[in-house]
Every structure is written in C-alpha cells, then in structure tokens.
Symmetry: C2
Subunit: 477 residues, 2 copies
Amino acid sequence: MSNQQNEKNLLPKKTGDLSDWYVAINRLADLSDYGPAKGTMIFKPYGYAIWENIQRALDDLFKEHGVENAYFPMLFPMSYLEREKDHVDGFSPELAVVTHGGGEKLEEPLVVRPTSESIMYDYYAKWTQSWRDLPILINQWNNIVRWEKRTMPFIRTSEFLWQEGHTAHATAREALDTQKWAMDVYRKVYREVLAIDGYSGLKSAAERFAGAEETLTFETMMPSMKALQSCTSHYFGQKMARAFNLVFQNQAGDDEYAYQTSWGFSTRSIGGLILAHGDDNGLRLPPRVAPIQVVIVPVKTDDEVLAEGRKIFDELKKAGVRVKFDERDYERFGYKLNDWEVKGVPVIIKLGAKEITDGVVSYRRRDTLSDGQYKRAGVASKIIKLIDTIQADMLTESVKFRDENTYDAADYDEFKRIMADRSGFIKVHWNEDTDIEMKIKEETKATTRCKLAEQSDGVDFYTGQPAKDIWLFAQSY
Amino acid sequence: MSNQQNEKNLLPKKTGDLSDWYVAINRLADLSDYGPAKGTMIFKPYGYAIWENIQRALDDLFKEHGVENAYFPMLFPMSYLEREKDHVDGFSPELAVVTHGGGEKLEEPLVVRPTSESIMYDYYAKWTQSWRDLPILINQWNNIVRWEKRTMPFIRTSEFLWQEGHTAHATAREALDTQKWAMDVYRKVYREVLAIDGYSGLKSAAERFAGAEETLTFETMMPSMKALQSCTSHYFGQKMARAFNLVFQNQAGDDEYAYQTSWGFSTRSIGGLILAHGDDNGLRLPPRVAPIQVVIVPVKTDDEVLAEGRKIFDELKKAGVRVKFDERDYERFGYKLNDWEVKGVPVIIKLGAKEITDGVVSYRRRDTLSDGQYKRAGVASKIIKLIDTIQADMLTESVKFRDENTYDAADYDEFKRIMADRSGFIKVHWNEDTDIEMKIKEETKATTRCKLAEQSDGVDFYTGQPAKDIWLFAQSY
C-alpha cells in the first residue's frame, strides 16, 4: 500500500540472489503475503487479478469445447483415494486430514482434496449407464491442499488454486484427443496470454502423475536455470474406470470401462510469470494478463493535467483498455512512476503540461523501458497497437530465452559438464530407462522433463546404443 | 443423465409434500447430488451454471464499485477466531478441524474457514498505517465449511460456495454506506436476475451476525410459508478493528480504529430460486439466471427440420441468447419436451415440418406453460422481447406472492392465529425486546426476520404500549 520511501532501492537485483528478488517482488508489487499456517499464502488483489485474467482465458476455451463447470465436495473419506493404489500412494504423504466436525470426533476422518479424481469418478460411475451418457466433460475451479515442507509463494504452497478438468469417453481415441486438446489449450494460454514458451511432451514413467498411464506436460525454463512443470494433462486409459467401476454399455450392447483424462492448470503459473518476465526494476507483465494495461501518471496534479488525464482515461477505457489514472496527490511523480514500474504495468503514460501544449502523449514501455511519444489525436488506437506489439515482443523474448538455454549433449560427460557449468534444458537422444534416470538424478540433480514428439535417429547419450527418442532433462522446481 | 422413462411422472406435486418435491427436482433437473461426507453436496453442471450467472451479475456490480477480488487461506489457527469473543462463540459449534497434515499431527490444529473476518482483518491491520491505505474493499469467492446437522441441498450444507466482501473505512458514515450499498446490490440481483422479491431491513440483536453491531438482511418467503434469510450485510463499527488492532493514522494525525463491514451471498440463493419458482412440472428459471434461455426441440430429427433448427440456433446465438439445439435422435419428442420443462428452460421452441411450411416459429413459455407462434422472419428480436417479458412477469409474480403472504397482526392473539393457520410474514408494530422475542419463538416457532425502514405510529402488538418500529416475523429455514 502507500509508502513514502523509494521502494526501488529495496528491490535486490534479479541477477543477484533470485530468491531474495522473488520474495521482495512479491511484497513490493503487492502480489502476495504469507499465511499464518505453514506453507499457506494470501493472494493479494493485484496477484489475484492476474489469476482472474488467466481463468477467463482458460474458461472461454474450455466452454468453446463443450466443457461444463461443476463443483464437488472438498472433504471426502480417505477410502475414496484408496480405491486406486498408485493414486493413493502418490498423494498420501501430502494429505491434510479433518478429524473433528461440529465439536465431535468424526467416525471416519475426511481428507481435504489433494486432487478430485477419486470423488468425481465415483459419481461418474453412478451417473453413467450407456454410451449416450458419454462423454462427460467436467471442469472445476477450486482450492487444493497438499502439505508441503519447502514452500515458495505461487510456485509451491500447501493450499493453491487451480482448475481440474475430468473427462470420461467411450473410446481411447477420444480420450487421447482430449488429453492433447487440453495441453494445446494450456500451451496457447502460456504463449498468447502469459507470453511464455516452453516444451511440451510426455512424462517418463518415473515422473508421471500418480495413477496415470500417460502424462503430457508443459515445461518452461526459469532464470534460475531450473525448469518449471507448468501444467499437465493425463490419460488414465481404463485404469481409473476399473478402480471406480465406471462402466458403460457400448453401442454393440456390451459393458465396457470408460477411458478417462484429467488436466490441471494452477496458480503456480503466476510464479512462472513473475520469474520469467521480471527484471531488476520489478515485474514486467504481458498486456493480456496485466490487471492494469496502461496507467496514466500526471507529473503534477493541477486542474489542467487532471482534466486531460481523465479525457485520455475515458478514451482508453472506451476502447476496451484496462486503464488506471493515478490521481494520488500525496505521492511524488517519481515515486508513482517507480511504483508502476515495480508493478509491471506494460504502458506508463507520463502526462505533464508540456504534453498538453505540444499535443502529444508520452509513454514508457515497461518491457524495454524505452520512452516514446504519440500525437494526441487518435491515441487510443495507437496504444492498442503498442499493447499488441509488447505482447508479441515478450513472447519472442521468451522463445529466445528458451532456445538459448537448450543444449545438446552427445554423451553423459558432456551432459554433466553442461549441467554443472550452465544448467538449462539438455536435449539428448535416449531410450527411457528408469534405473539410468534415477542414477542421473542422483549424480546431477537433473530429471527428465519430457519426451519430445520428434523421433530420434541418433545414438543414446548414456548407453551408446541406437536411440528411439529425444528427451529433455533439467533440474527443476 | 439420459433416461428412457417419462420422468414427469416421477415428480411429486409441489403443492403436496414440498420436501419430496424438492429432493426430486434436484435429481430430475440435474441440479445436485449428495456428497459422501455428511451434509456435503455436488453442484452438477446445470446447477453450477446457475451459480456462474449469479457470480457474473454480482462480480460486475462489485467491480463497478471499486471492490477487488483476493484470496485468503482456507486453513488458519483457531486462535484467530478467538480474538473476538462474540465471533468465536457464534462459530465454534460449527467448525471442521484439521489435526493432521503431511502424515504428522499438527502442533496447532487448524480450522477450515467458517467465514474469513478473523484471518482477513489480521492482515488488514498489518497492511494499514494511514488513512491513505483506506478504504480497503476486498471480496473473496470461495468455499466455506460449517458443520450442519440438518441439511438440505443448496439451502443448508456443510460446505457451501459464496462471496464474502470485507471492507475497512476511515469513517463510520462510509462503512454504513458500504453496508447499505452491498444490500442494495444483493436486492437488485435478487429482483432483476433471480426475479425474487422480499423484504430487507435490520436484524434484531438476537438474530444478527456473531460479532456485528448491525446486520442488514434480505428475507424472502418460500412456498413452505417459511422465510429464507437470503443474504446479509454486516456493520462491525470499530468492534472487529479493536479485536484485530486495525488502527490507522487519521488526517489529524491521531490513531483511530477502522470501521468495518462484511457481506455475503451464497449458493443458498439457488435453493431459494428452486423453491420460489418451481411448479408441479419442474423448475422454472428466470431467463437472466437460466443456463439455457431457449431450447429448440425438433418434432422429428429429419434433415429439413435439423437444417432449419440450426438456422434458428445460429440466429439466436448471434443475437446473444443462451440457446441450445436438442439434436438427440435417440429420445422421443415428448420425452425431450418434458425434460426441458423439468429443467425450467424459459422458452421451448417446438420445431416440426408444419412450422417450416407455414413460415412460423412455435414456442412454449415455461413460466405460464402457454403456447404461441411468431412469424419466422426476424424471430430473434421477438424472442429477446419474450425473454424480457418472462423475466418481468416472474418478478411481478414474486412481488404478488410476497404481498399476499404478508399479514398484519394487531395483537399477539391475532399473531398466533395467523401463524397457526397460514404462516407467512407477519408485520407488527413492536419495540424490540429480546425476552419477548424468545417467548414468541418458543410459543409460535416464529422469529424476527427484520425491522422495516418505516417508523411506527401504532401500538406495540405484544405490550400495547406506543411502538417505535415495524417488524416482520416468520418461521424460517
């Protein structure tokens, strides 16, 4: 909130200790605060508004595809999770358990959902008789609790917000298409809204979701040179359907287990956004996800400037821009300018008497920190073009960053050297082998991030044998 | 989901046992299902879509007023609630408690939020130094757990969804205005979106929110002749600020406690909607809250009819109508017609070869069950007018129902007679007295619902003394 000091000086360099910078930016840009219970966090209005923009983008794409929203109880008996062995094994260590309700000890303790497959699929089974009841395409926007020891705001917290889509289909083909569709939606939102590119592909058997037959992931590189698993989409085959007895009568009249998918996109994405785009001056928000796309900052708050500021505000608002007019008269111009830079507003309009005399609008692009001027007449359409340019430029930057930090390693020695010297993504020809994967993890802290779609015609970097696939390794959050 | 039987026959009469009807309509209209843990429920897609329409209406009005959304942790230490005595006394009996996390017993048990005053205001205190930091206008959309013994889908469940707005102000005037503004927003949404009218006014000391100095409520009459407390808006004065040390430096440079409000609107409103508007044929949804405003049902699914149906669908969709085309070829026309009547879709278009030949569109209004025809040309604008008419007519009906079930009682004998014979709202001249209130509750099950804004110039119905105020009594959910 208000602060008479120049907060810029309090922001450590991003190129210094990244954790210090991350903690400071969360506070100075008013994104989050720490909750009282271990690992919980508060999404402050400015941080939450970023989430609302992400939600809108995803929700529109889900609905376009025929996905419907619903809501399932957050508390359910432990026995639900236990229906599928791999699933319960994956989530048991992270559970929060309610043992008392209404002043009494509960007969059966309830878990706080760590994910909703188990409760949802029990109902899917109850609701499904024939192929006519399929597909089921349901999404939930909700809160999730997974008890975490090492936490980091947005990136890893004991309670987080997400959407979880859960579908059931009459054929494997349709389920696999849906798994892929969800990942395509995610990648589109990462690229076009968050201006972040990465790699998508299948997870290894060791890294995939507890209970899934296949997991698609989207992996992005952070300036720490650690990869962030940014969202995932799972294919369960008939495995969950077997566990929950989700049977339908197919068109031939036979009973068959349904084919299923689930896919999730969480508030972790906001952590990725902060890390990927921030700089020494604070946050840098791509316009499509920015709560405020343009802020107008008067050099002095005299009547003439305020009147002109309100005019520009009205024009931009009418044109559909998310615009704010900073009319605070108790803060200096320099403080306000810095405040909006720290908050990463894409376009800052600096409005003084000179601009009015000259019939121009002076602006600063937050992404490049470069200053420019437009003629006053028809300024709204120019600002809208500028917003589009910034959005595109920030994605280009992200692609460049990803590519510059992706290395090829011909053999394990080169792999180890790169991982020790520069880290980043390492792309290798490799045949999946869990023992080798574990050994590499132990020796280099690097794990498989995903298998790329391209086929390999090269030599396995670890064994020297002909390799089938191309994999990405990296250290990760 | 699909069902070859004629489900209409399974729906009990609303005028018979209302609980039976309510349970049946929830199932047959695909609104909800029972959760596995006591008192929990599933919001099925059709029921949840109603909530999404309510959310959008409220959220737009909040944002227009400058309220920002945020998210606070669901789990927090019990000690937070204990900071304000009345508040903890009110909520203690309903708490769900997490005692274990990540496989270990927690040092301090955590409560699942029954409401968020206590955690939010602790942070408001931390974030506030001067009058410049005020007002704080924050809203949350989240889930709440209050352990309930007697539950009823939507109306009273152990977990429910709502929004909770929480504000802090530099003056009592501003806080009181905000409390009133929130109730005005709620009443507007009830009237204009849900087409339900009721009475708003202040709660008695015995009925107000735990910890509040004043509670405004909106009370609606259900066909059971019980009132439903439909949403509330609270003024805390400086009471909460004292408990949480929410102090600001005012413009004179002195420390002062902030003035606060909170206000909530929950998924209980969907229960009210079902009860208020449903009839013997199922649900009746006002168009503004209906997930589907118009459904096109082909008499036969032959090519000509399907092609025409798609044309009408496209025209309505383009005009901004939430329209569905029921192309299912495996269900009979009669079944489908009944299905949409049960689901309460405001306008059902019945499309056969005859309509195409005659160049007309046949429709049924769900609210009145009356049939009509429009000329085919320019049908979209006529349907939009029809939708507005239905919305207005349903509100008129609700006002009439409220007025017809509001009685005056000159003395306590008449009061008891009305309450025994007809129930409903009873309007009386009365001076608030908690002992009398408790006695009336014991003898008639009726409680004060609210004090109306009008002043009394009459005689207290209980004591015969000159009365200051006019109060509404009713039995309630």
